[in-house]
Symmetry: C2
Subunit: 216 residues, 2 copies
Amino acid sequence: MNPKSDNITWHPSKLAREDRHARNRHRSCVLWLTGLSASGKSTLAFELEKELHVRGVGSYVLDGDNIRHGLSRDLGFASEDRQENLRRVGEAAKLLVDAGLVVIAAFISPSERDRRMVRSLYQDGDYHEVYVRCSLATCESRDPKGLYAKARSGMLPGFTGIDADYETPERPDLVIDTEAGSVRDSVTALLRYLEGCGCLTADLSRIHSGAHAPSR
Amino acid sequence: MNPKSDNITWHPSKLAREDRHARNRHRSCVLWLTGLSASGKSTLAFELEKELHVRGVGSYVLDGDNIRHGLSRDLGFASEDRQENLRRVGEAAKLLVDAGLVVIAAFISPSERDRRMVRSLYQDGDYHEVYVRCSLATCESRDPKGLYAKARSGMLPGFTGIDADYETPERPDLVIDTEAGSVRDSVTALLRYLEGCGCLTADLSRIHSGAHAPSR
């Protein structure tokens, strides 16, 4: 989709992404956590954020619930609203990634098409899809917010897993099974993954003429 | 405006803003630059970003032009679209501020009502309105993108300053007159302002049990 007007020009920042990485001493990216409600996305996101902070890594959680109090407060839960919600979150996450942060986005994001749309916003290596796997039975037995009970009673039409499909990710970058291990195990796996793709460190060779000198 | 559904709960981050400030060694806030097209907002924003980077301060520019390639690419320039654009930018900036960055938002934002709407999204001390003052005559003589010429010829209906009003800010937190001084003068004034409101340093008394230990 092209912008609605050609009366706009692109103002490049005077800072390169690498300048921010060098300052922060780590790369930036988005981990996109997808999975059923109560599969553990938010719990993992906030625990991972805490662990990254302890390691001096700047990170930020975008959460399916939280974002709807702000950026997407005008949107409902119809299919097109959900898609627009994810598009906005994808764009907001992109700004945060560009600003140098490791972003952890925790959204049910049940549709393969919508997840592909979000992925398409990013350049290679910036977007990492994490499938937070948990059986519907277990999610429903956890039901921390009582949403499954409401959905079963017909109070939440279109609830993912009950009367709307969750499309299992076809090619996730990482699968975390929250039935198979503890929260700590899952966070450790996420940290290892980030380490593996170089997001916990920066290429500091860019720092040559002063601690924080921008490259252009 | 309340969210469209009450089927959402607020997930507080396990990190407090102060934890991020302590890690970054500076506070976070948004500087909202308002002024006519070609008044110098983007130039000041990117120069300030560079200077902040040199000082080790994490910052990020949201730009009136740039954002329309992403978050607001579905919006045009009618009054309600402009308002929605500013609302989204305000919300995106709020996420960046919450993530610990000094955000520099550069938007014409000609309406006092819209600027108040954006301010209302923030808690006290987080939002700082900077009026980038420059006479219409000077802006029109600069005209780096040829937009005033297009507007005068009728090709850009509703162009601020030509056939749409710019409402001078009633109570800006800072006024920068780009006719009265150089870019360097203006950036120095912005840095002094940020220093004055404590955004270039952090209250490090929160760090007591380790370099980056979160407080809860």
